[in-house]
């Protein structure tokens, strides 16, 4: 029997609420600021066949990777001959299974209704530290996965309602701050329990067969929604190439979009081979970035569920930078590579949907990690810094903002200075960094700081230092990132994308993030806007003369 469309919509909304409520519980009970303040977590509900039914919108990088994770985990357990039963919870963080990086720990709980498997309740959260060589586990110098922290392959952390202490102790034995990890795992378990309770209410209210049928209609709805969007797109094959930075080398990222009225295939054939550096992106990240790119271009309101994934295929050759072979290191694949994957897909889309795609944004997360010993206590600070957004058809690129795969908040200077021996000297928009065009790119950011006491190790993971964010439709490229340390003795150390420098008081770190690419030909820019930019000091008079003939 088919369920009426109103009931389907009510059940669809109810499941999204459940995922959202799980997120609230997780956020409220978590220990670490990563989950509490930066909301680096996701919650979702899957059908018994492992199809994504509902997901709360928390962070783009988890968007598609949750699906990859559930699919891989179920396959893994099946191959190992492990069967699931009521009251079990499986834990996994192996990026080659769970789909992001080691810091993201995923818990999966099968949900039973009257003894029958009805679905899976899942959450994923970024843990502050999962061991490995460097505090925070994101190690810019890692040569293999095992230098990035403890690797957990799918295993039951709860078995028939009983906590498996051995599994938990083993995890806690491998991390730097066990009480944080324990607190966050407990928060994840609490969130799953709330999800389970709410699911039970829904199944009780509507009955098993109605909910299952409604879910299948929800997936059909997602599929139909995407097909409706595809109907309006000119089918064909569109390719684009962009580059990632790896020391002095450039690595190629190639994508080919195959669009027909009933399918999108995103193929990364022709991309570089994997490298011995953490910029490899596991397939889950590649998949997530692809989902994000499609959703952002076709329709930001595209409902995310398995129905869409039926019509979106992502192909990446094994052993390439977008689908590496274990144990290649992957921690920054989430951060920098995911941004570039979005860029290259957007670039391919610009050929098929001109007028709907902005120029390239700054395209980095500009990860700053700094730590040391101060007052006999270890300290570690991590932040990401925004830059310029690409110029858009009909609109300027936004100045100084996070783009695409991240949207986390900055740490207020007045709070950071209170907690760490850092002194900030500047936080401002980087004049003249934009790509020029009819609609110019956004300006990058300048963040300048020094340490006040003790010594510290500073590391940077960033990109678009050697390459520039591209312009579109005749717009110019944005200025690349330019980062350096000015030592007390006057030496200037230029920084590459992955770099580590020791700091002492008096040394000053200059981070200048890239500007966005321009959109449209500069000569079409209105004189009024050029004058406003000069008046507001966003671009200099000289630049205005060169690019706009002022």
């Amino acid at each position: 029997m088919s369920v009426d469309k109103v009931t389907v919509e009510v059940i669809r909304n109810a499941c999204i609420f459940i995922a959202e409520e799980m997120g609230i519980v997780l956020r409220r009970t978590a220990y670490s600021p990563n989950i509490k303040d930066r909301l680096d977590m996701s919650c979702a509900i899957f059908s018994s066949r492992g199809e994504l039914v509902a997901q709360a919108e928390h962070i783009p990088v988890h968007l598609g990777s949750m699906t990859v994770c559930v699919e891989n985990t179920l396959k893994y357990l099946d191959e190992k001959g492990v069967s699931l039963s009521e009251g079990d919870v499986v834990i996994v963080n192996d990026p080659y299974i769970a789909g992001t990086h080691l810091n993201d720990i995923t818990l999966i709980k099968p949900f039973y209704f009257k003894g029958e498997l009805a679905g899976f309740i899942v959450n994923k959260a970024h843990h502050v530290d999962v061991g490995g060589k460097t505090p925070g586990s994101i190690n810019p110098m890692a040569k293999s996965l095992y230098e990035e922290g403890v690797v957990i392959e799918p295993v039951k952390i709860v078995e028939k309602g009983e906590l498996n202490r051995r599994v938990l102790e083993e995890l806690l034995g491998n991390v730097r701050v066990p009480e944080y990890t324990k607190g966050d795992i407990k928060a994840q378990l609490a969130s799953l329990n709330v999800g389970e309770r709410r699911m039970e209410e829904i199944f009780n209210k509507y009955g098993y067969s109605t909910v299952i049928e409604a879910w299948s209609m929800v997936l059909d709805y997602g599929e139909r929604y995407l097909l409706e969007k595809l109907r309006k797109v000119r089918g064909g094959t569109y390719s684009a190439v962009d580059f990632l930075e790896y020391g002095e080398e450039l690595l190629k990222l190639k994508c080919t979009l195959n669009i027909s009225s009933n399918m999108i295939i995103i193929d990364f054939k022709g991309s570089s081979k994997q490298v011995d550096a953490p910029i490899n992106a596991v397939y889950g990240v590649t998949y997530s970035a692809s989902c994000y790119a499609v959703k952002s271009i076709l329709d930001p309101d595209l409902p995310m569920n398995h129905g869409i994934l039926r019509r979106l295929r992502v192909e990446a050759s094994l052993g390439s930078i977008v689908n590496p072979i274990k144990p290649a290191p992957v921690a920054a694949g989430n951060l920098e590579t995911s941004q570039r994957i979005v860029d290259v897909i957007h670039l391919a889309f610009s050929k098929c949907l001109p007028g709907r795609v902005p120029a390239a944004p700054h395209g980095s997360m500009n990860n700053v990690m700094i730590g040391g010993v101060f007052d006999g206590k270890k300290w570690a600070f991590y932040e990401t810094i925004g830059g310029g957004m690409g110029g858009r058809p009909g609109r300027e690129g936004v100045d100084g903002v996070h783009v695409n795969m991240t949207n986390t908040l900055n740490t207020p200077i007045e709070i950071a200075e209170r907690e760490y021996p850092i002194l900030f000297l500047e936080y401002s928009l980087r004049e003249n960094s934009c790509g020029h065009g009819e609609y110019r790119g956004g300006l990058g950011i300048r963040r300048v700081f020094t340490i006040r006491r003790g010594r510290a190790i500073f590391s940077l993971v960033a990109s678009r230092i050697k390459t520039k964010p591209w312009g579109l439709m005749g717009g110019g490229p944005g200025k690349p990132g330019e980062h350096y340390v000015l030592k007390k003795d006057g030496r200037r150390i230029s920084l590459k994308g992955n770099d580590v420098v020791e700091l002492e008081p008096g040394d000053v770190v200059y981070i200048r993030t890239p500007g966005g690419g321009g959109y449209g030909r500069p000569e079409n820019r209105s004189r009024e806007l050029v004058l406003r930019d000069v008046e507001e000091g966003r671009i200099s008079l000289e630049e205005a003369r060169i690019h706009y003939g002022l």
Partner: protein, 683 residues
């Protein structure tokens, strides 16, 4: 004319004036469109239209959303010219914000326009450390140069230096120098408006305050002048976004405190009733023509938030971070969704039925009003289902059911449903949306909605409340006597309120508790003085001292009521931490972020008359067929004005009154109580 009190609510679209007759408790509302260029004129017009004798007015309570309307450019007052002076290197903090964008997937988003253009943001050399020591002295010459640049060109100057909340010496010196240089503009210091760490939020709060100050003081001046001319010689009280009242002179100092006071009134009315009934937990559900708002009242006090963005966007009931200007002043915690009588039902690209956020508003209005609206709305659905009478607002509107059926028919055929099934679907989906707003103020705040009483008001609230109560597991609904005017009633039962706070930012230690107590004492003396000046009597003052506490390393703090005993204080904090976050950590150091005081001056309030209750079965005035999702069933119809205290009736029933319709579904019972509220419970 009898003595009366007046409540004024100036919104971006309508201005409402509510008159409470102090002798018999009668309440009356006059409503007109807001004059967006000279909003004070709308108040005068309302007073004239209502034939109100200003000499017999005890006082006027003024609430408004003008602050937001101004920032969103919806009101045509002349915008002030403003300059911002910051520490060197940080003039763009106000524009960069927290670096986040207000929308994850929409590439065409916009951030709020910076209220101060970049060339009017100036930097000066100076630096103070977190400990308050001067790292770099103020560059006086540099500041003089800025002064000479802006002199005569600006109406207001905001000064925000890093860490000025610990040591305001540079901000104060800067003000002195500007004045010395002959800058005649108003000068606003961040250390006086919002003395707390977090440079972006402090800058935003200070700039918003600076921006609104000339506008709103000019507005209030004009209003006072005109009222005076008409013979008004009593006082005006201004409602703040916290729901508390203040006098004009304080309001003019911190206009940022009354940016969004219009919507707060409904929560105040619920709080008043909760106290009257002795309800521990209550939720307010206020549904009007375009939106539904949810509020939460705990032990008679509305939940307050400091996490508010003025002029920001709301998505599914939550404020979208980064879409507006953050303002760190107390706001009543409201969750708002786009579901009101005029909300439009439509079919999305996946073929699914959706409701809102588009609204037919009051013009053209729902299809059934016959004023040119053709899209199906929630009101149309209620009419088709038989829940709503064709005669609305006492006969002012005669709805045309055939137009409603025609509009809904358009979507029904696409869904392969009958017209009444589609109408039922619209209501169900709207109810799901509105339940979400109520979940946000309860579940998301860690409160179990099943333990709360639901207050349903606004024109459409009582029509949807029963089904929403089922959704949330709420057991009892209260529909107050005049649901359509209930929000306005809140204006007339508010108390004076002053919120003061000071940063402390040091560990909580037994030996330092005295210092904390002294700081609290200073604040409460300031607050008490202010409330007394506003007209509260000494015997009616309530002072609540609070501390914002957190474990070292945590980013957000919890507010704990202050007690003198160190161990008791710590114990309360550990317990609240466990309750809120699921863990406590006795070995961790506890930090006092902020010392806060709320001083309440309790006002004389109209007492709700208590009637004698005689249980009886009232006589229905008629019958109507209503659609329950599967069948057409017979429902009794009652007239609200004929129901006396003690009247008991069973669903399915409809109770009609001038300003609202109450739907009592099958399985529910409704009773009129001694305060003439209708209590609805599920059998």
């Amino acid at each position: 004319m009898a003595r009366c009190r007046i409540g004024v609510d100036v919104g971006g679209t309508f201005t409402d004036v509510t008159v409470l007759n102090c002798e018999n408790g009668d309440l009356r509302i006059v409503k007109i469109l807001t004059d967006v260029d000279e909003p004070w004129r709308s108040i005068i017009a309302c007073i004239e239209l209502g034939g109100i004798e200003l000499r017999s007015v005890e006082h006027i309570v003024h609430a408004t959303t003008l602050g937001s309307n101004l920032l969103l450019g919806q009101v045509g007052l002349v915008k002030p010219r403003i300059a911002l002076i910051t520490t060197k290197g940080f003039r763009d903090v106000f524009e960069i914000g927290r670096q986040n964008r207000p929308s994850l997937y929409n590439l065409f988003f916009e951030k709020p326009k910076p209220l101060v253009p970049r060339n009017m943001r100036f930097e000066v050399e100076e630096r103070i450390s977190t400990e308050g020591e001067i790292i770099k002295p103020l560059d006086v010459e540099g500041l003089r140069r800025i002064a000479r640049k802006i002199k005569g060109l600006v109406d207001v100057v905001a000064i925000v230096f890093l860490h000025s909340y610990v040591n305001p010496v540079h901000e104060r010196e800067a003000r002195r120098i500007l004045v010395e240089e002959g800058v005649s503009a108003e000068i606003i210091l961040s250390s006086e408006v919002d003395p707390h760490p977090g440079e972006y939020e402090r800058t935003s709060t200070t700039v918003v305050n600076a921006y609104l100050k000339p506008l709103l003081s000019n507005y209030l001046e004009k209003l006072l002048g005109e009222l005076g001319e008409k013979g008004f010689n009593s006082k005006i009280l201004v409602m703040q976004s916290s729901g508390g009242l203040t006098n004009i002179s304080r309001a003019v100092e911190t206009p940022v405190a009354f940016i969004e006071s219009g919507p707060a009134a409904g929560a105040i009315a619920v709080a008043y009733y909760s106290n009257m009934y002795g309800h521990e937990l209550s939720m307010g559900f206020d549904m009007g023509g375009t939106t539904a708002k949810a509020s939460m009242i705990v032990e008679g006090d509305p939940l307050i938030t400091l996490d508010y963005e003025v002029g920001g966007k709301v998505h599914s009931g939550r404020i979208v971070k980064g879409s507006g200007y953050p303002v760190r002043y107390p706001f009543i915690d409201l969750a708002e969704v786009s579901a009101g009588g005029g909300s439009i039902a439509w079919i999305d690209e996946g073929g699914t039925l959706r409701v809102g956020p588009m609204s037919a508003g009051s013009s053209p209005g729902p299809a059934c009003y016959g004023r040119g609206g053709v899209e199906p709305t929630i009101t149309d659905a209620n009419l088709v289902l038989g829940r709503l009478s064709r005669i609305l607002a006492g006969g002012e509107i005669v709805a045309d059911e055939s137009l409603a059926r025609k509009a809904i028919g358009k979507i029904a055929s696409k869904l392969s449903l009958s017209i009444e099934e589609a109408a039922y679907g619209i209501i169900k989906i709207a109810n799901t949306l509105m339940s979400k707003a109520l979940r946000i103020v309860s579940i998301e705040r860690g409160i179990d909605p099943r333990k709360a009483t639901l207050y349903a008001f606004g024109g459409a609230g009582p029509l949807h409340a029963a089904e929403i109560a089922v959704e949330l597991g709420v057991r009892e609904i209260i529909v107050p006597k005049n649901p359509g005017a209930f929000s306005a009633f809140g204006l007339l039962v508010a108390d004076y309120r002053v919120d003061l706070s000071a940063p402390y930012l040091k560990p909580l230690r037994e030996e330092s508790l005295l210092e904390v107590a002294e700081l609290l004492e200073k604040l409460s003396m300031r607050g008490t003085k202010a409330v007394l000046e506003e007209g509260a009597s000494e015997s009616n003052i309530k002072v609540v001292g609070m501390l914002d506490l957190r474990y070292r390393g945590e980013r957000s703090s919890l507010t704990i009521p202050y007690v003198e005993n160190y161990n008791a204080l710590l114990d309360v904090f550990h317990r609240k931490h466990l309750e809120t976050y699921g863990f406590r950590s006795e070995e961790e150091e506890v930090i006092v972020d902020t010392v806060k005081v709320t001083v309440i001056g309790i006002t004389d309030k109209p007492v709700m008359p208590r009637r004698r209750v005689e249980e009886h079965r009232p006589v229905a005035t008629g019958f109507r067929r209503i659609f329950d999702g599967y069948n057409w069933i017979d429902s009794s119809v009652y007239s609200r004005s004929m129901l006396k205290p003690g009247a008991l009736l069973k669903g399915p029933s409809i109770i009609e009154s001038y300003d609202s319709t109450i739907y009592v579904p099958e399985g529910f019972t409704a009773v009129v109580d001694e305060y003439e509220s209708i209590r609805i419970t599920c059998r």
